[in-house]
């Protein structure tokens, strides 16, 4: 400062040169100082203001190592809170091949002083060895692991995902073993091994694992998740956002060589488990359905069978399945042999992967939702409902079927019964599934009226079920529907809808006319079980009046009682149903007669609790209709379901007669007394042994046996219980069964329409030639096959 003060005081410097020196020194110092101070301040300020955020982000991107901690996916429960799918913690095995390689290159090398490349061989040997052991523990192929471990320039590779706790323990043990790679001599002159632990080069990261306790069970509803844990199909996909949860993060800093920077930089955000889903599916009903469908598939060798059980009042899907399905624990294994064969042709071709995923999706997709079929005669109930609602027909309407219907001068549509059903009432028309009858109704309604109900029942739109990939119905548009199209649509041909659509529309008849939105998820709960949201049943519209619906149900009941649906008859329950056999018109070109046999029913008819739709897709062999193929399956589902749901059976008088009896106690009675007591109840008594009094009996007292039952009475002590081999009842009539049963000393219960003419046994509950105790109880199932054309 003194320098400037001096200037102010205008002190004279005597020598010009001195002045010049100072002036110049001052100038250069000032200039340099300006640059020295201003350049960095402005330049750094500019960098920070203009690029600060960008640079900071880029630096952090380089520095921070962000590991995701995967969130546990939500649990999926059935409606009774049984776990169908659970998420479990798992681990992922990672390795540092570069670290291992450089360890060998730098450290192990010294153990092989004699050769330059010996360490490389040792390295290869070790990767092979450790790869083999890892492969054995994980049960996977060894070669890919070894190849991964030899990627010497990679400092991070993922070796295996979804490792469970046991495998992890085994691996931990393996990695903590000391591996000797050479020897050295210590100070005391002892020879010691040089060792290292594999744990320096391997690490575990968090991963999640989806576990399915019951393999195939409800597989098409639940759906598949990808390797990354995202839902691909089913509710897993539709509710992916709910199920996913929020992944946690573990942020660590690393240096430029990818090594973690020591503590103090780590931050952990705990993951949040995804929400759970409570399905409307009931495990028991689902089990009945899957069991029945699987048996039917095995028996018919059809291309596929599918079934849906729905609660008519709400639209909740109680069970839904289509066989063949797949194992959720191993979803990527193609089960369809034809698909596997087809895929083989694509091996080593670039399209292979696309083709594989196409086939896998075919396997995973739920036929009930993603596919369409021609509904056929089951659709007649909607034509009937429309006709009743519009007043163009009532229960007294009659029509005489001549075997065909002339729609236009060019178009003649035949009835399934080409000789014609003759004179029929409305109900008889439905019972016979007479095509001309319904064509006639359709023509009477006219296109506009018909289409009004066609739309009202939702056949022109998706149902809106909470599953992905729902198929859009393929129907004639209103504008393009002419007389001919109307005629074929009236009896359910020439358009395609999905099974879920068909049963939803069917439920509208069952519940008094309300078309519901079907749904499979009842509620969403968080991981602690608190309710987050609940699905309220949604009425889409009132399709028909309650009265009309009741009338249609009444007619459908007649179908089961005496029409094409009699194979679905259940004692004590009023079942309303309609059969269908629909030709696959689009596959006519193949030269084969391919068809879908289906059956739509609900029970009890007056107040339906359950609706069932069963379809058999492309059954091979002799032509059999929906009444023969599908109705028995529906019955097999419906009967236990009704009992499970606690619907009380209400027997008619004729049914009451055949209802089983309770066995009386005969023990201690003399043979004569016992015989008279049994015969008074219509029970046959078979005496075994030569004793005077009955010492034991099979079945014991208080058991229920069929009306014309048998009791085996043993009169000797230590008598060996009588064994019988179960005979083959298949193909017998009811009378023949009774006779045989008494002869063998078996109690046989009947199921199915055994009273109708021509009903024969098609199935029995205990297989032929099984050895059972005399007096045992079994059930035989009757099936009517005559007059079943629909």
């Amino acid at each position: 400062m003194s320098f400037f003060r001096r200037l102010l005081k205008k002190n004279v410097v005597k020598c010009r040169s001195d002045l010049e020196f100072k002036r110049r020194a001052r100038a250069i110092t000032a200039a340099i100082l300006c640059v020295l101070v201003l350049m960095p301040m402005l330049r750094i300020g500019y960098i920070m203001i203009a690029h600060g955020d960008e640079y900071r982000e880029e630096a952090q991107k380089n520095q921070l190592y962000d590991t995701q901690i995967p969130a546990l996916r939500g649990t999926i429960y059935d409606r009774n809170m049984n776990e169908m799918v659970t998420g479990a913690t798992a681990w992922m095995l990672t390795a540092s091949p570069a670290g291992l390689h450089s360890f060998y290159k730098n450290t192990v090398k010294k153990a092989y002083p004699e050769s330059e490349t010996a360490w490389e061989d040792a390295w290869k040997e070790y990767t092979k060895e450790i790869g083999r052991e890892i492969g054995h523990i994980l049960g996977v192929r060894i070669k890919p692991i070894v190849l991964n471990l030899r990627k010497e320039d990679k400092s991070y590779v993922r070796l295996q995902r979804k490792i469970d706790a046991k495998q992890k323990n085994d691996l931990d043990e393996l990695f903590s073993e000391k591996h000797a790679y050479g020897t050295y001599v210590n100070k005391k002159g002892e020879q010691k091994d040089l060792t290292f632990k594999a744990s320096s080069f391997f690490a575990f990261e968090n991963d999640t694992l989806r576990m399915y306790p019951e393999n195939n069970f409800a597989s098409t509803i639940i759906g598949v998740t990808s390797a990354e844990g995202e839902g691909i199909t089913g509710v897993e996909k539709y509710y992916n956002a709910e199920l996913s949860g929020i992944a946690g993060r573990q942020v660590t800093a690393k240096d430029a060589h990818q090594n973690p920077i020591e503590s103090g930089y780590e931050s952990v955000e705990e993951p949040q488990q995804g929400n759970g889903l409570v399905l409307t599916i009931d495990e028991n009903i689902q089990y009945y359905l899957e069991n029945a469908l699987q048996n039917a598939l095995d028996a018919t060798k059809a291309k596929g069978v599918y079934g849906i059980v729905m609660e008519p009042a709400t639209g909740a899907v109680l069970a839904m399945s289509d066989k063949p399905d797949f194992d959720l624990n191993n979803p990527r294994k193609l089960l369809d042999k034809a698909a596997v064969k087809e895929l083989k042709e694509y091996k080593n071709k670039p399209e292979y992967n696309a083709k594989l995923s196409e086939k896998l999706f075919e396997q995973w997709d739920s036929f009930c939702v993603t596919s369409t079929y021609e509904p056929g005669s089951t659709f007649k109930i909607f034509t009937a409902a429309a006709a009743l609602e519009e007043g163009v027909a009532d229960l007294n309407t009659t029509y005489t079927c001549g075997g065909a219907y002339q729609v236009t001068p060019d178009t003649l549509i035949h009835c399934a019964n080409t000789r014609g059903h003759g004179y029929q009432t409305f109900t008889q028309g439905l019972m016979n599934s007479c095509n001309p009858f319904f064509i006639n109704l359709g023509q009477k309604l006219g296109v506009d009226n018909f289409y009004k109900y066609f739309e009202a029942f939702g056949f022109t739109e998706r149902t809106g079920i909470d599953l992905t990939g729902e198929a859009m119905p393929i129907v004639h548009s209103h504008a393009k529907m002419g007389k001919v199209e109307l005629a074929s649509t009236s009896f359910g041909q020439s358009f395609r809808v999905s099974p879920i659509q068909m049963i939803t529309a069917g439920c509208a008849i069952a519940n008094g006319g309300q078309l519901m939105t079907p749904y499979v998820v009842d509620s969403i709960i968080d991981s602690k079980g608190n309710l987050i949201s609940k699905t309220e049943p949604k009425v889409r519209r009132q399709a028909i009046s309650n009265g009309t619906a009741a009338t249609v149900r009444q007619m459908m009941e007649a179908v089961v009682e005496g029409g094409t649906g009699k194979n679905a008859y259940i004692e004590g329950y009023r079942v309303a149903g309609k059969t269908a056999t629909s030709e696959k018109l689009d596959k006519r070109s193949t030269g084969q007669f391919l068809y879908v046999a289906s059956f739509l029913c609900f029970a009890p008819a007056d107040n339906p609790q359950v609706a069932v739709l069963v379809g058999v897709d492309e059954p091979p062999g002799q032509y059999r209709g929906g009444g023969v193929l599908a109705a028995p399956i529906a019955k097999e589902v419906l009967e236990p379901t009704l009992k499970y749901l606690g619907v009380e059976p209400q027997y008619t008088e004729s049914e009451l007669k055949s209802v089983s009896k309770t066995t009386p106690s005969l023990i201690g009675k003399t043979i004569v007394d016992a015989r008279s007591k049994a015969s008074s109840q219509g029970i046959t008594l078979k005496v075994i042994g030569s004793g005077e009094t009955v010492l034991s009996q099979v079945p014991s007292a208080g058991q229920s046996i069929p009306e014309k039952g048998v009791i085996i009475a043993y009169t000797e002590k230590n008598a060996r219980s009588e064994k019988v081999k179960v005979p083959d009842f298949t193909g017998m009539t009811a009378a023949e069964v009774n006779e045989t049963a008494v002869r063998y000393g078996l109690n046989v219960a009947f199921s199915g329409p055994y009273q109708s003419a021509g009903a024969l046994v098609y199935k029995q509950s205990i297989a032929t030639d099984t050895e059972v105790q005399a007096g045992s109880r079994l059930t035989v199932y009757f099936q009517a096959t005559a007059n079943m054309n629909d």
Binding site: V35, M39, R43, E58, A59, A256
Partner: protein
């Protein structure tokens, strides 16, 4: 401080050599503010070097402190040397010692070039495990030589009309020097000689492929010529030439290819921001990321993440980036202001001393510090192409720190000769 310095007094700068023999040691008091600034810069510098080198040292040698201790050792030696040098009367250099030092340095630079002729890097001399750059000495010898010549020429240089009439006032010249001065009897001749000295040094260093040092020497030489009184028109001409050269190189870096591609790659990397396979742009980029990460207050001392091997050798040329990252804009600016204070105080010492030779030495030395800081920060902030110049007191390098402290010793030595405001002096002044 008891003996106060004489302020505010018009004084003639004494260009004359001291009468009689100069004593080796002197007793005057050193300039305390300057000494304080040197200590402060040294302490802050070595602390930041410790932080910046910690990770690199850990990685390189396995001991995080190894670079710090080496630097500390060199620094301690340097401080001792600084104190001893400050005790020595610098005026003994204003004699035949300077030409001797000049020729010795020229030989040493040539020798370095000859030793390393086949090496990639030609600027180091290795003696056992100890290695140093002769250019560190050359910087000081350039200042010394220029100061020596300017003192001889002083009366000739600034004002033509004084010419030989005032020449005798340059007292105590040796016979050789008088003969010398007889020949260099006008401003132009003197200017040419001074320019020649600069050219010789720059030429010797550029053949060692030490571009940054060449630029530094050139700027130092030009500054000394300016202070020494070379006519302003030469600076105007030189300024125009340099400006044209810079513009041409900036617009058409291909011209550098004509000169054996010298610096071409670096200019291209700087201009296009694309690394042509070498690490230059990576280094600059990481440096910018560090600066950008700093923000106004920095991430805190020791918390830099860019030093985790992202910035290659963060303790060297790019230490300032780590400083800004850790201490922020404020911290970086404070350090710049410390350097500025050092330059200011140096300037004060230069203008207060009565001895022109000392004044020129001090001006030269503080100029060197300032230019080095400017060039270093310009590189770190990507203002100019990467040249490779260290930050004084901060960058790792034992010899650089040692010589820098020795130069500080010279400044302190000059400061010891500033007359005290003692009773005797007061009387004299009156």
């Amino acid at each position: 401080m008891n003996p106060k310095r004489l302020p505010n007094r018009p004084i003639n700068i004494n260009t004359a050599r001291p009468q009689g023999r100069v004593k080796l040691f002197q007793t005057g008091a050193v300039d305390i503010p300057f000494l304080f600034l040197v200590f402060l810069l040294f302490a802050v510098g070595i602390t930041m070097m410790y932080s910046a080198s910690y990770v690199y040292a850990m990685n390189k040698t396995g001991h995080p402190n190894s670079y710090f201790f080496r630097q500390l050792g060199a620094g301690a030696l340097g401080l001792v040397a600084m104190w001893i040098i400050s005790k020595v009367d610098y005026r003994i250099l204003n004699s035949y010692w300077t030409p001797v030092a000049f020729f010795f340095t020229v030989l040493m630079l040539l020798g370095t070039f000859a030793i390393n002729i086949h090496n990639e890097i030609k600027r180091w001399i290795k003696i056992g495990s100890f290695q140093f750059q002769p250019s560190e000495i050359a910087k000081f010898v350039l200042i010394l030589t220029m100061a020596y010549l300017i003192c001889i020429f002083y009366r000739v240089m600034p004002v033509n009309d004084l010419k030989r009439r005032t020449a005798p006032r340059v007292a105590n010249l040796t016979r050789a020097e008088r003969v010398f001065l007889d020949f260099f009897d006008n401003n132009f001749k003197c200017t040419v000689l001074l320019a020649l000295v600069v050219v010789v040094f720059c030429g010797l260093i550029i053949i060692e492929s030490h571009l940054s040092c060449t630029i530094l020497m050139f700027l130092m030489g030009v500054s000394m010529m300016w202070v020494g009184g070379v006519k302003k028109k030469w600076f105007v001409i030189l300024g125009i030439i340099v400006a044209v050269a810079v513009i041409v190189v900036y617009l058409k870096p291909d011209v550098l290819k004509l000169m054996r591609g010298f610096g071409y790659d670096r200019v291209m990397v700087w201009k296009t921001k694309e690394a042509s396979g070498d690490a230059d742009n990576w280094q600059t980029r990481q440096s910018l990321l560090a600066i950008g990460s700093g923000g106004p207050f920095g991430v805190g001392f020791g918390n830099s993440k860019q030093k985790y091997l992202y910035i290659p050798e963060p303790q060297n040329d790019f230490i300032f980036a780590v400083i800004v990252e850790e201490l922020g804009y404020i911290g970086g600016t404070l350090i710049i202001l410390l350097f500025a204070a050092l330059v200011c105080r140096g300037f004060m010492i230069a203008t207060r001393t009565r001895d022109l030779f000392g004044a020129l030495l001090v001006i030269g030395i503080v100029m060197q510090v300032a230019l080095q800081v400017i060039l270093n920060i310009a590189v770190v902030t990507d203002t100019i192409p990467n040249t490779g110049i260290g930050l004084p007191f901060f960058s790792y390098g034992g010899t650089a720190l040692f010589f820098m402290l020795c130069e500080m010793g010279v400044v302190l030595s000059v400061s010891r000769r500033i007359p005290m405001r003692t009773a005797v002096n007061e009387e004299e002044a009156a």
